[in-house]
Amino acid sequence: MPEQTTEQPAPEPTANQVPRLIVTWLVVTAPLAYGLFQTVKGVVPLFAE
C-alpha cells in the first residue's frame, strides 16, 4: 500500500486578494447603496410635513 502523505496547500497570496475583496464588496454594496438612497427619498415626505 503506498504511503499516504499529507500535503500542505500553498498559502493564498495576500496581494491577489485585495482586488477580489474590492470587487466582491462593490458588487454587493453598490446595489445596497442604490436601494438605501431610493428608500431615504421615499422617507422624506414623512418628515417634510
Binding site: P11, E12, P31, L36
Partner: protein
C-alpha cells in the same frame, strides 16, 4: 466532473484566505433572495393581467414563504453535508428558474405556472439560499458570529430595498405607458414578464459571485488572536455539538422556536398594517392628518429600521450575550407596544420612533438567532438547526396577520378606524411578547446526553458520513 468545483473538498480555503470575502459572498445570495419582500411592486399589474383578485395573486408570495420554511427545515442537513458552494449554486439555479417559469406563466396567462415557478421552485431556492451561508459564516467568525450572520441577514432586508425601486424603473423601461411615480398607474403583463426574465438573469449572475467566492475554513482554523477558551467561558455558550436530529428533541430548541415565533408575530402586527395604521392613529373624523404619501414614507422608514436592526442588534449581541439581547427585544418591545397603544396617538414623532424601534427588534430577532443556536448547539449542524427553526417564521407569517386582521375586522375597516380601535390588537401583541419573554428566560444550556462525540462531528465535516 464539470460540477466537481461545487464539492465540499474543493471549497476548503487555503491558508491565508481572507475571511472578509465570506460576508459579501453571503450578501450576494441574501440580497437576491430578499426580492421576495418586494412582490407588492407588481401585484396590481398581475391582478389586471390575469383578471384575478389580490388574494389569488397574494397566494404566489404565500406559497414562496411556505416553501422557504419547508425547504429550509427539510433540506438543512443536506446543505450542511454538501457545503455552502453546492447549496448556493442550487439556490441560484432554483431562484432564477423560478423567475423564468413565472415569466412563462405571465406570458402565456397561466397563473398556475407562476405559482409553480416563483412560488414552489423559487420558494425552495429561497429556503436553501437563506440558510446556505449561515454555518460557514459562523465558522469563519467564531469571535463575532452575531456580526457575521447579522451582515448576511441584513442583506435579506436590503434585497427588498433594492428590488422595489429597481422593479419599478425596469417596468417603466419595458412599458412606456407605466409611470412609477403615479400610484394609480399599472404596468402591463408583458413588462412584468420582461422584468421576471431580467431579474432571474441578473440574480443568477450575482449569486454566482457568492458561489465562486465562498469557501469553508480548513479544519482546526481559527482567526489570529482568537481565544476559544474565553468564548466558551461566557455564560450560555457551549463548545459541545448537537446534531439537527437531536436538537429538535431538546426543550431549548422549542423555547427558541417560541421566542422567534413571538418576536416575528409581534413585528408582523405592525408591518401588516403600517400605512393605514399611521393614518388611523391621527384621524379626526373622516380625515387623517397623515397624507397617503407620508404613510408610504412611514413604511419605507420602517423597512430601513428593519434592515439596520438586523446588523446593529445582532452585532451588539456578541458583546452583551444572546439571551440578554432577546430580553431586550421582547421586554423593551412589550413596553414600546404599551406606549404605542396608550400615547402613540398624541404625537406623530413618538408614534414613528416607537414603531421604528419595534421593527428594528423584529429584524434583529431574525439576525441574532443563528448565533444563539451556535451558542447552544455548537457549529456542527447549526445551519440545519436554523432551517428547522425557520418554521417558526412560517407559522408567525400566518398567526401575525390573523391576530391583527381579526381584531381590526371586528372594529371596522383599516383606513377608516381610530387609534382606540387598535388597542385590543396591540395589547394582544404585548401578551405574545410576554410569552416569548418567558420562553427566553427559561433557556438553559443543552443537556450533555444530546452532545455528539467529537469523532462523528469531524467525520461529518470531512464529508465521510
Amino acid at each position: 466532473m464539470a460540477l466537481s468545483f461545487l464539492d465540499r473538498e474543493h471549497t476548503v480555503a487555503r491558508p491565508g484566505y481572507s475571511r472578509w470575502l465570506i460576508p459579501p459572498a453571503a450578501l450576494a445570495i441574501h440580497l437576491c433572495i430578499g426580492q421576495a419582500y418586494a412582490t407588492s411592486v407588481y401585484k396590481n399589474a398581475l391582478v389586471t393581467h390575469f383578471e384575478s383578485s389580490l388574494t389569488a395573486i397574494g397566494v404566489i408570495f404565500s406559497i414562496a414563504i411556505v416553501m422557504l420554511g419547508l425547504s429550509a427545515a427539510v433540506l438543512g442537513t443536506w446543505v450542511e453535508r454538501v457545503g455552502p458552494r453546492a447549496a448556493m449554486f442550487a439556490s441560484a439555479c432554483l431562484w432564477a428558474s423560478g423567475f423564468l417559469v413565472g415569466a412563462l406563466g405571465i406570458a402565456t396567462s397561466q397563473l398556475w405556472l407562476v405559482y409553480l415557478g416563483y412560488g414552489v421552485i423559487g420558494g425552495i431556492g429561497l429556503g436553501i439560499g437563506y440558510i446556505s451561508p449561515v454555518s460557514t459564516l459562523i465558522k469563519w467568525f467564531p469571535d463575532r458570529p452575531g456580526l457575521a450572520t447579522g451582515m448576511a441577514i441584513m442583506g435579506f432586508g436590503g434585497g427588498a430595498l433594492v428590488a422595489s425601486p429597481l422593479s419599478r424603473q425596469l417596468m417603466a423601461f419595458y412599458d412606456s405607458g407605466y409611470d412609477p411615480a403615479d400610484p394609480t398607474s399599472v404596468a402591463s403583463g408583458s413588462s412584468v414578464t420582461s422584468l421576471f426574465v431580467t431579474l432571474g438573469t441578473v440574480y443568477f449572475l450575482v449569486m454566482m459571485l457568492g458561489v465562486f467566492t465562498v469557501k469553508v475554513p480548513p479544519p482546526g482554523w481559527s482567526p489570529a488572536g482568537f481565544d476559544a477558551g474565553a468564548v466558551a467561558a461566557k455564560p450560555m455558550v457551549s463548545t459541545a455539538n448537537v446534531s439537527a436530529a437531536n436538537a429538535i428533541r431538546t426543550p431549548q430548541f422549542w423555547l427558541l422556536w417560541t421566542v422567534l415565533f413571538c418576536n416575528v408575530t409581534a413585528g408582523i402586527g405592525i408591518l401588516e398594517q403600517a400605512a393605514p395604521m399611521i393614518q388611523d392613529f391621527f384621524r379626526d373624523g373622516d380625515t387623517s392628518s397623515v397624507a397617503p404619501t407620508t404613510a408610504a414614507g412611514f413604511v419605507a422608514f420602517l423597512s430601513l429600521f428593519n434592515m439596520a436592526g438586523r446588523f446593529v442588534w445582532s452585532s451588539t449581541s456578541d458583546y452583551i450575550g444572546r439571551r440578554p439581547t432577546y430580553i431586550m427585544y421582547l421586554g423593551v418591545g412589550m413596553v414600546l407596544y404599551v406606549l404605542l397603544a396608550t400615547v402613540g396617538h398624541l404625537s406623530t414623532l413618538v408614534f414613528v420612533l416607537v414603531a421604528a424601534v419595534i421593527l428594528s427588534f423584529y429584524g434583529g430577532g431574525f439576525a441574532t438567532v443563528p448565533a444563539y443556536l451556535r451558542d447552544l448547539f455548537g457549529t456542527f449542524q447549526v445551519g440545519a438547526i436554523h432551517g428547522r427553526l425557520l418554521t417558526a417564521w412560517s407559522a408567525a407569517g400566518i398567526a401575525g396577520p390573523l391576530i391583527i386582521n381579526g381584531f381590526l375586522d371586528a372594529q371596522g375597516t383599516p383606513g377608516e378606524l381610530v387609534a382606540a380601535d387598535y388597542r385590543p390588537a396591540l395589547f394582544t401583541m404585548v401578551g405574545v411578547l410576554a410569552l416569548g419573554f418567558v420562553a427566553n428566560i427559561l433557556v438553559r444550556p443543552v443537556a450533555e446526553r444530546f452532545h455528539e462525540a467529537p469523532s462523528r462531528t469531524d467525520a461529518f465535516t470531512e464529508g465521510k458520513v
